[in-house]
């Protein structure tokens, strides 16, 4: 069976490194992007089974990225988890309205993150 593909979108290389280590250890294939626009390009090129995105990013932020994914038919139903330092109810509501599947507040617990990914992964 082909490993499931996860696209991680975060402007911090350290975060991308930590996600890569966590997800690879669990057998996922990981594709990395630095911001929303980069995420859309990587999505077009590689596809993804699950997307994990930061919210505060340069060029294109996470909320705009989620909206852009939902506008594309191929990714209208792809699970999108946010992974962010934002924990306010307003931001969460914004993420939910944009089409996010779930909201995870950093710092993340690797085991819990993996359980959520496994749960939403089609």
């Amino acid at each position: 069976m082909m490993p499931k593909k996860i696209l991680t979108v975060d402007d911090s290389k350290t975060m991308r490194d930590m996600l890569l280590a966590t997800l690879r250890r669990a057998g996922y294939e990981v594709i990395q992007a630095e911001h929303g626009e980069d995420g859309l390009a990587k999505l077009e090129a590689n596809g993804a089974d699950v997307i994990i995105t930061d919210i505060n990013m340069p060029v294109m932020d996470g909320i705009s990225f989620i909206k852009a994914c939902r506008k594309r038919q191929a990714y209208a139903a792809t699970p999108i988890l946010t992974l962010t330092t934002e924990s306010s109810e307003e931001k969460k509501a914004e993420g939910r309205a944009a089409g996010a599947t779930g909201w995870i507040v950093k710092p993340f617990n690797p085991e819990k993150l993996l359980r959520v990914v496994e749960k939403v992964c089609p």
Binding site: T14, M18, S87, G102, W103, K119
Partner: protein, 219 residues
């Protein structure tokens, strides 16, 4: 499983929120010596401002503080943290120490960006990491903190413009985020037992850092 598809997904947060400082917890007073309003940052906290009259102050033992600002947007602040002692392991291995340190840096940087700062313009000065607790130890807590902050900034492609790290004396940092000026005082060893005590209690608090465990799956 801690994620439930319902509205009350937010699990209990541990008593002390080690990661963020609410505005109400900030202690400030006017300091006539500097003709500025002094804002004290305690271990595990950070503070960001764009007020030219504010001076951010922190006392460092083996903890480190990153003073970060955007010199164009004129916004900046500092954090004050140390890494919990945890499983070591590879950089990027997402162990507790790395996640904690990463969070301390990221929350500060994000707050600066949210107030108009630009990631590509950040000016960074780092201080602290003194070997004040376990003076005999070579691989001191201070050194681990120094190694982390340097490695983090290198990894993020952010240059350090000034640093004063290591040694065996505590430091007092006065940072003016709008001008970027730092006044640092090296303190005689433990002039104030409270610094030592505050750091020890902070170390104990984060010895087994709890993740905030804030996960919500929307319907």
């Amino acid at each position: 499983m801690n994620t439930r598809r319902n509205a009350q997904l937010f699990s209990h947060r541990s008593g002390v929120d080690l990661y963020t400082a609410a505005a109400s917890e900030v202690k400030r007073f006017f300091d006539p010596r500097f003709n500025a309003t002094s804002v004290m940052v305690l271990p595990g906290r950070h503070y960001v401002t764009s007020a030219p009259t504010e001076m951010v102050v922190t006392l460092l033992g083996s903890c480190v503080a990153a003073c970060i600002r955007d010199p164009i947007a004129l916004v900046g602040g500092l954090n004050h943290f140390l890494l919990p002692e945890s499983d070591t392991g590879q950089w990027g291995a997402a162990n507790a120490a790395m996640r904690y340190g990463n969070h301390a840096m990221e929350t500060l940087i994000n707050d600066i960006i949210k107030r108009g700062g630009d990631r590509g313009r950040l000016e960074v000065k780092v201080f602290g990491g003194g070997n004040i607790i376990d003076v005999q130890s070579k691989n001191s807590v201070g050194k681990l903190n120094i190694d982390f902050v340097k490695r983090y900034l290198l990894n993020e492609g952010i240059k350090i413009s000034a640093e004063h790290l290591g040694g065996s004396l505590p430091r007092r940092i006065h940072y003016f985020p709008v001008t970027g000026k730092v006044k640092m005082l090296l303190l005689k060893r433990h002039p104030d037992q409270r610094l030592f005590n505050a750091e020890m209690s902070y170390r104990e608090r984060i010895a087994a850092p709890e993740d905030l465990d804030d996960i919500e799956l929307f319907d």
